[in-house]
């Protein structure tokens, strides 16, 4: 199966009302060109799952500014004042989640688990509405899996089969999100031949990747 597609084909998979995971951390390792295409397509009522909402003029944040986002599940909105504004006005439903819990919820979905117990958030507002389970005298929150219709991720190097290798801090949420969405599109700087990435150094095995989009300069 040919996994390499162009941006037009990729963006055809994005629809109004979808739940979309977007990789990256404060603009680093973010699939910006896919985001730009989502912006151009103008799909609405998206639910985003992402570490942070980036900046008003860069990456994920632009989707917020353009009012395409109905709900966001994220650990941080502080670098994008527009997120806070829309949260306070009620235009956007913002669910703030501790970063370690968020990534583990995504992994949990990808790994077929029903949830996990974490000490993070005990005694805070994060506890609200959640089940507290005591194990060996210590309290934990039961956190549930989070999955998505679509994951847009960024990989530094991808072979034609879809194996992904990440460079430096661009890895972050990308490999975890690749496990937890019905469809995964990776935006990459470099497509290489099958076998060029040492099988021992693959960070996202190709079975998780549906489509590959090359970045244009």
């Amino acid at each position: 199966m040919e996994k390499i597609i162009d941006m037009e084909q990729a963006i055809a998979y994005v629809e109004d009302g979808m739940t979309i995971m977007i990789g990256g951390f404060l603009g680093n390792g973010v699939p910006d060109q896919l985001i730009e295409a989502v912006l151009q397509k103008g799909v609405k009522n998206l639910t985003l799952i992402c570490n942070d909402t980036g900046f008003p003029d860069r990456g994920i944040g632009k989707l917020v500014v353009n009012k395409q986002v109905k709900k966001v599940m994220t650990s941080h909105i502080g670098t994008n004042p527009e997120s806070g504004k829309q949260m306070h006005s009620g235009e956007m439903d913002v669910r703030l989640i501790p970063q370690g819990t968020l990534v583990e919820q995504i992994r949990s979905a990808g790994a077929g688990l029903g949830g996990f117990l974490t000490p993070t958030g005990i005694g805070t507002v994060v506890e609200e509405g959640k089940k507290v389970v005591e194990i060996d005298g210590k309290d934990y929150l039961l956190e549930l899996p989070i999955k998505a219709d679509l994951a847009l991720i960024r990989g530094s190097r991808v072979d034609k089969k879809g194996n992904v290798w990440y460079r430096n801090s661009t890895r972050n949420f990308n490999p975890i999100m690749a496990m937890a969405a019905d469809r995964v599109i990776v935006e990459t700087d470099e497509v290489v031949e099958i076998g060029e990435i040492d099988p021992n150094n693959v960070a996202t095995p190709h079975i998780f990747v549906d489509h590959i989009v090359r970045r244009t300069v």
Binding site: F25, G27, H76, I77, G100, V103, G123, T124, S156, S169
Partner: protein
């Protein structure tokens, strides 16, 4: 020495050779500049690596390498990168020896509030809640008061980051240890009197004998 420099210089002394340390954004980041020559500390960055080094030379920034504040940094030889699930396994799993964070409020039970002011500032907790719960030692580094109001309280009234997890509070006026019995003032800044510290602190605290001088 300015106030913030005094604080981070004192915090730096808490870090031991071989410690794995996560520094929060802002003032805590500067702790890295004051670590003794013969102490090798391994910095963990929550966005996915250990072995973080200082800022790159201007023009030498690597677009694929930022710290948890989104700033360009470098890594030292022997660094290792990983994904966010592993990063928080490290953080929550007790593999970080110390974390240094700022605070809006901290109280005599060791409760910490540093991630939101309802209706005003709601940036989100990022990785702070996991760090405070998971790190073996939680050090709060902050100015003693905000606009003249105490930040070390009997009880935090802002939403908490975590319950009873703070181990040490370092301000420009002194150093408090948090124990099961409450706060103990261990050190005071040379030019500050005990009376002045009491006035600037809402929390109850005991005073160590002898009360050492901070950054002597």
């Amino acid at each position: 020495m300015d106030v913030r420099e005094r604080i981070v210089k004192r915090v730096a002394k808490e870090l031991k050779d071989g410690d794995i340390v996560n520094l929060g954004i802002g003032m805590p980041t500067k702790v890295a500049n004051y670590i003794e020559e013969d102490v090798e500390v391994i910095f963990q960055s929550e966005n996915g690596y250990i072995g973080m080094g200082g800022a790159p030379m201007p023009g030498m920034e690597d677009p694929d390498l930022v710290n948890a504040g989104g700033m360009h940094v470098t890594v030292k030889k022997g660094a290792a990168f990983f994904d966010s699930a592993m990063s928080f396994a490290i953080i929550r799993g007790g593999h970080v020896d110390a974390t240094v964070l700022g605070a809006l409020q901290v109280d005599q039970e060791g409760n910490l509030a540093n991630w939101m002011i309802p209706g005003k500032m709601v940036p989100g907790m990022g990785g702070a809640m996991d760090l405070v719960v998971g790190a073996k030692k939680v050090i709060v580094a902050m100015e003693h008061t905000a606009k003249g109001n105490p930040k070390i309280l009997k009880k935090c009234h802002l939403p908490l980051t975590a319950e009873k997890e703070v181990d040490l509070i370092v301000t420009e006026m002194g150093v408090f240890e948090v124990t099961d019995q409450g706060l103990t003032l261990k050190e005071r800044a040379r030019e500050v009197t005990l009376e002045e510290i009491r006035e600037a602190t809402e929390a109850d605290f005991t005073v160590a004998e002898p009360l050492e001088i901070m950054n002597p």
